[in-house]
């Protein structure tokens, strides 16, 4: 069975989705990623979806699940590189990807994760302002 590779970069996990996922692959990714968060004690998960031309409610739910599950395990999730057409479609569909942060590209996503983590360490009160998606 195919699997989406999960890369580890220090305290973060990096996933680049390069192909349109069929359901099994997506559910596997969800399970693998949570396992990895647990095993590596990662503080952040970055998912690059810039190659995805479609995000439907199923894929949206997977992304949301990953966000919520990581959160419970004390890791932040950032989804980066969403295509404009995909964003417009998701809004029209009625999905707002609650629970995950978003960033324009991998670089900005990494910055956001680092910022979140230092914020948690130093001043846990002022989180709300920087949240991209609430």
């Amino acid at each position: 069975m195919d699997r989406i590779p999960i890369l580890r970069m220090g305290k973060f996990l990096l996933v680049t989705i390069q192909i349109d996922l069929y359901d099994r692959l997506a559910t596997n990714l969800e399970a693998d990623l949570i396992q990895m968060v647990n095993k590596t004690e990662a503080k952040g998960v970055l998912i690059d979806i810039s190659a995805l031309s479609i995000v439907d409610s199923f894929m949206g739910r997977i992304l949301g699940n990953i966000g919520s599950m990581s959160k419970i395990m004390d890791a932040e999730t950032v989804v980066v590189g969403m295509q404009p057409a995909v964003a417009i479609t998701l809004i029209e569909l009625g999905l707002e990807l609650k629970g995950v942060h978003t960033a324009l590209n991998v670089e900005k996503g990494m910055d956001l994760l680092k910022e979140k983590i230092t914020m948690y360490d130093e001043e846990p009160e002022e989180l709300e302002d920087e949240d991209s998606v609430e």
Partner: protein, 137 residues
């Protein structure tokens, strides 16, 4: 008057059929020069409906048609299944309602993504959903 320019049918039986099906819809949309955003909306709606079909009726048949009406071209997709049918269509079309464990955006969300949406269902016989997305709609 809607004229059919080109058509194709696809059988959807397992989840692996979803991605090839989306690609076929995309080919059709590209062929009539549909813009990227409308393409994405159409394919997303198609994906939602085909997923519903798999989940509730174990698959079915999809008819893909390139149609033209006046100056406008568009894509019509007809999803036919022989599943249990939907007892209350207006309830199924409500945001946030789901009989399975999903987000409940499938039907109402798809409707928002396309220009024309038509659903017919008979209990015990199956459900037919037909959607149209115009190139400039």
């Amino acid at each position: 008057m809607k004229i059919v320019l080109n058509k194709d049918t696809m059988k959807i039986e397992k989840e692996q059929d979803v991605v090839p099906f989306r690609n076929r819809v995309k080919e059709y949309a590209v062929k009539i020069n549909m813009g990227l955003v409308n393409q994405t909306k159409l394919i997303t709606a198609a994906s939602e409906l085909v997923r519903n079909m798999l989940k509730y009726a174990n698959g079915g048949i999809v008819l893909i048609e390139a149609i033209s009406q006046g100056r406008d071209n568009g894509i019509r997709l007809t999803f036919q299944d022989k599943g249990p049918g939907i007892s209350d269509i207006s309830l199924a079309m409500k945001d946030g309602y789901s009989s399975g464990k999903s987000l409940g955006v499938g039907l109402p969300g798809s409707k928002r993504l396309v220009n024309e949406f038509d659903i017919k269902s008979t209990i015990g016989e199956g459900t037919t959903v037909s959607i149209i997305k115009w190139k400039n709609g």
